[in-house]
Symmetry: C2
Subunit: 231 residues, 2 copies
Amino acid sequence: MTGKPRVREDLTAAAIALFLKRGYDETTVDEIAEAAGVARRTFFRYFRTKEDAVFPDHDDCLARVEAVLNVAAPGTPPLAAVGQAAHLVLAMFTDDPATAVKRYELTRGVAPLREREITATSRYQRVFTDHLHKRSRGGEQARLRDEVVAAAVVAAHNHVLRQWLREGGKDDAHARLDVALGAVTDVLSGWLDGRATGPDDPDGGDVVVVAVRRGAPMWRVVQQIEAATLP
Amino acid sequence: MTGKPRVREDLTAAAIALFLKRGYDETTVDEIAEAAGVARRTFFRYFRTKEDAVFPDHDDCLARVEAVLNVAAPGTPPLAAVGQAAHLVLAMFTDDPATAVKRYELTRGVAPLREREITATSRYQRVFTDHLHKRSRGGEQARLRDEVVAAAVVAAHNHVLRQWLREGGKDDAHARLDVALGAVTDVLSGWLDGRATGPDDPDGGDVVVVAVRRGAPMWRVVQQIEAATLP
């Protein structure tokens, strides 16, 4: 594999393949470097430890996520911007389905690797929360809402990613994420739209009459009301 | 401190105090045992590593959470049962505010300890998801919803816990959690109530007419509709 520009990706693929074949504890950095056709010192140019080699570049992705959120036009609904950011995170996996599926197989069986992934996820959630909070106008109450919304987006992302990985990395995970984020947005957007009035002015505005089918799922009702009450 | 029945708690308090005073890396198990007035071998009866000594007994708490969820009466709304479980987790901190506040100060500054806490949190979230999913009747769509709802409950719990810790562990964190869970339930209960009809039968049931103030926060609207459409 020497000479390819994707040294980092080759090292990751080699590390995951060896960990799966020989065991995580049993595999050395030298073996990974050899399998990827590079020198040991090249490995350490990309990764500090063999554990690092398993994961996609979360630092890099986190920086891109922050950049995307920072340049989001002020008119963009904060939940939409966070949704775009979630697609960026998902792309890190869907860009190389074969490696992503093997990594999933590996991390399921090795607790420290699984925990490492959980920690990485929490960093995205924190960045999402901060973006939502920067765009919201409240104090404590808004912070709770922003944390819950960020957690919901991350849960939707993880749900889609996990299903996609379990099914072998086929199909269009991004289309599925759109559907999942749509469901989450339907449920939560009311909470976010509530900003316009705020919890301290619940009686502002005039009255709209909506016919609601008894037993209809609430997300449909919310959709219906939103359509009727949009300024 | 010898002779007290709370050896575990004494060791945890001693470990946190020493880590804060001398540094995490610099403190040994022997020093912790000495500060708690017990032998080194007693330390290892309670903890495998000095890192373990920092945390409350998450294994024990997780077992209690599972027990509470398992015995929840079939008529209990799943979100209510999960809310009760969240109070159990919170109680682990509020039972000893002084230790909880010092632990928070410590974990904020030591990355491996913070990551350990994040991992513990993810285990509760998983148990909450499984409970919600056991009680729900759907496939894929229901799983997404149950994961998002569990994430929302955990986010609300963490929000309340963090605020309480930052303010020095005063006030009634459980009352605050009730308020936070109430807000989350208001927003999400429609999604959960939607189970009765299900996403494939959106047109079931008869029609209810509701007057909605334009600009009212959606959670209030949802409350209003729920009150009007309850069977």
